[in-house]
């Protein structure tokens, strides 16, 4: 026995893929990449603005909810729930893109999307 399950899709199977299918796959790939890049830009903008905001507004240190300066709160707590929100939103959208791809490819001649 040789290696288990070669990772490469067999070429003959691929050869049967029509130009249409390949085109749709490329479109899906681009849509996924656009979604990911958008998420990174939005996320990077939010998180990336935080150090800059704290740097430019040193006065925030005088605001002390529960006795702890606001900058410490801002770094220690809110990023984590924001990560989860981004993750959930992205996961839903990505799955949605795949679902519509499946519909297009799966629906026999009904390719007119």
């Amino acid at each position: 026995m040789s290696r288990p399950r070669p990772p490469r899709t067999p070429r003959d199977e691929l050869a049967e893929a029509t130009p249409h299918g390949v085109l749709y796959l490329r479109r899906l790939r681009h849509a996924q990449l656009t979604l990911s890049v958008l998420a990174v830009v939005a996320f990077g903008g939010m998180l990336g603005a935080l150090p800059l905001a704290l740097y430019l507004l040193p006065g925030l240190a005088d605001v002390r909810p529960l006795g702890v300066p606001l900058p410490v709160w801002l770094v220690a707590v809110p990023p984590f729930p924001i990560f989860v929100c981004f993750g959930i939103a992205y996961e839903r959208r990505a799955r949605g893109l795949e679902r519509s791809f499946r519909e297009i490819v799966g629906g026999d001649d009904d390719l007119g999307a």
Partner: protein, 570 residues
């Protein structure tokens, strides 16, 4: 004594679960990828358990105490790395159906040399990471129980090697999921109880005001085993074995070995090289001026951790265990939540430690603040019980990360470097590689006892970020990436990361002026420069070489949604 019981209990729990997992570990697929049947919640706990190493459990609070609130960017970056993984890597990598990173490299780029080269890199990164875990285990067990340094290394090494060799990925998944909950419990519960017992944060002037940390009520007694070089931030008098030693403000003095006493309210002298900071300065996450709070350092740290996490081979190996691409994404979202819960708490230990165990500034051992804090904050049985709990959590942290690294080392050795011909041969070689893969780093950790090897983790991280991160991102999303481009980019990234760290070490061997200027910041965090460089070289060389053929096959495997075979495109 209670600590010994707690550590033993956690270790036996890991062994027991490992033994339970053995019953399911028979095939190659079991050993390497847990037969790809791990459900998202289970896998998320296992991934988080593996990821939260000693650097997270002990290091963040220690760095926070030493450097200030700027250390709080670390957990943010560590978690952000998983977002990058989720957005760009998780689902496609799983869909490709490979077993290891070298597998991915060969499938995408073709050629056995590529497999071997990436395999060597995986082994190097895994080894560099494993040594500090074992060293940390030795130091922690010695600190908590008084046992010799080698005991912790041998115990953790044996348990991990046994679990990995017998249960492989399948067995380790149970153990790591269990260890996540042990660690989270061990960091959350003491933090909450201590805050309740103390009635909130005590003595805020040293934390956020214009005060330096001072000896607590009753003074601080420290046993100096050997003479210590300390700097007095303010003029003060301390006694060693009853003999007074006076230091002027800013003066650095050598204290003789003996019983040191710092009277109550006296500003704590700090170990040479540690910067004494007033509370106001200490509590700034970002500030003007040099140091780790400078915006440049913060941004380069965030970039490095954001991109670096996806390059860690032991983290990627866990993604292969998901049933499909959608599950891989769901797992990652859960990881973001589980890490978030854990990372809310190390900050509490840093804050309390600054007030309650300021003598760690004098000894320079701020890394042990998590272990020391419970008993200092709450003398008596309560503190001792909580201390035992955090000690057990720390040992769980060493074990789970070491297990993940060892699975990745053994998997790569037995699958890519030295593949067996038969199922039996592969399984046996995996087991041999697991034992050998532990023996070498354990020996190194034993030899490297006196060296500060924290630089190894930084090197491994930078190496992973500057090689595997661009390889994965471009390999998955860019059809034009060629073998030559990938190879050139990885060589350039590895060379730049290694070079920066060597130069950083040579120019500043003690790490005393750690990240004082912008150049030091980049030498300590080279990923912010070496990763873009690796990307640039990969793209440039790929564009100058011939467009690769047959990209469709790999792209199909990477991006086709689950459940659709290539025939669905007909």
């Amino acid at each position: 004594m209670i600590a010994v019981v707690a550590i033993t209990a956690v270790t036996l729990g890991a062994l027991g679960l490992g033994a339970y997992g053995v019953r399911f570990a028979r095939t190659t697929s079991d050993l390497f990828v847990a037969s790809r049947t791990v459900t998202p919640w289970f896998n998320a706990a296992a991934i988080s358990g593996e990821y939260l190493s000693a650097a997270s459990f002990l290091g963040i609070a220690g760095l926070e105490m030493k450097l200030g609130a700027s250390a709080l960017w670390l957990p943010v970056g560590f978690t952000a790395g998983y977002l990058a993984l989720l957005l760009f890597v998780a689902a496609p990598l799983r869909r490709l159906g490979s077993y290891t990173i070298p597998d991915f490299a060969e499938a995408r780029l073709g050629g056995r040399p590529v497999r071997l080269a990436t395999a060597v890199l995986v082994l190097a990164i895994g080894g560099l990471y494993l040594v500090p875990q074992l060293k940390g285990a030795g130091l922690t067990v010695r600190e908590v129980t008084g046992a010799p340094y080698w005991v912790g290394i041998v115990v953790v090494g044996l348990v991990v090697a046994l679990n990995v060799a017998s249960g492989g990925m399948r067995g380790i998944t149970y153990v790591q999921a269990y260890q996540y909950w042990v660690k989270t419990f061990a960091i959350v519960l003491p933090a909450c109880i201590l805050l309740i017992v103390l009635g909130g944060l005590p003595e805020r002037a040293a934390l956020f005001g214009r005060e330096l940390p001072a000896a607590p009520e009753g003074g601080a007694r420290i046993e100096l085993a050997q003479p210590a070089r300390v700097t007095f931030p303010r003029a003060a008098t301390v006694t060693v074995d009853g003999v007074a030693v006076h230091g002027q403000a800013g003066e650095t003095v050598t204290l003789p070995a003996g019983d040191l006493f710092v009277p109550e309210g006296t500003t704590m002298p700090v170990a040479e090289g540690v910067r004494a900071q007033e509370g106001r300065e200490w509590s700034r996450p970002v500030a003007s001026g040099g140091g780790t709070a400078s915006p440049l350092f913060v941004y380069s740290l965030l970039v490095a951790t954001f991109l670096g996490t996806m390059g860690l081979p032991h983290i990627l190996a866990r993604f292969y265990t998901n049933p499909d691409g959608v599950a891989a994404r769901q797992t990652t979202v859960r990881v973001l939540g589980l890490l978030g819960i854990f990372y809310l708490f190390p900050a509490v230990y840093g804050l309390l430690g600054r007030v309650l165990v300021p003598e760690l500034y004098l000894t320079g051992e701020t890394d042990s603040v998590v272990l020391r804090l419970p008993e200092a904050a709450w003398p008596g049985l309560g503190g001792e019980l909580l201390g035992a709990l955090v000690a057990a959590g720390a040992v769980a942290a060493f074990m789970s990360t070491a297990s993940g690294l060892l699975v990745s080392i053994a998997g790569t050795s037995a699958y890519d470097v030295w593949p067996g011909r038969s199922v039996r041969g592969r399984v046996n070689r995996f087991r041999v590689a697991a034992v050998a893969g532990m023996a070498a780093p354990a020996a190194l950790a034993f030899v490297a006892r006196g060296l500060d090897i924290s630089v190894l983790v930084g090197w491994a991280f930078a190496l992973a970020a500057s090689t595997f991160c661009p390889l994965l991102l471009l390999g998955i999303w860019w059809t034009r990436l060629t073998l030559a481009g990938a190879a050139a980019g990885m060589v350039a990234g590895a060379a730049a990361a290694t070079g920066a760290i060597v130069v950083g070490l040579a120019s500043d061997p003690d790490g005393a002026s750690f990240a004082e200027g912008p150049v030091d910041a980049l030498l300590a965090q080279p990923a912010a420069v070496s990763v873009p460089l690796a990307f640039a070289v990969m793209v440039a060389v790929s564009l100058r070489t011939r467009r690769p053929r047959e990209m469709q096959a790999a792209m199909l495997a990477l991006h086709l949604p689950d459940g659709l075979g290539p025939s669905a495109l007909r």
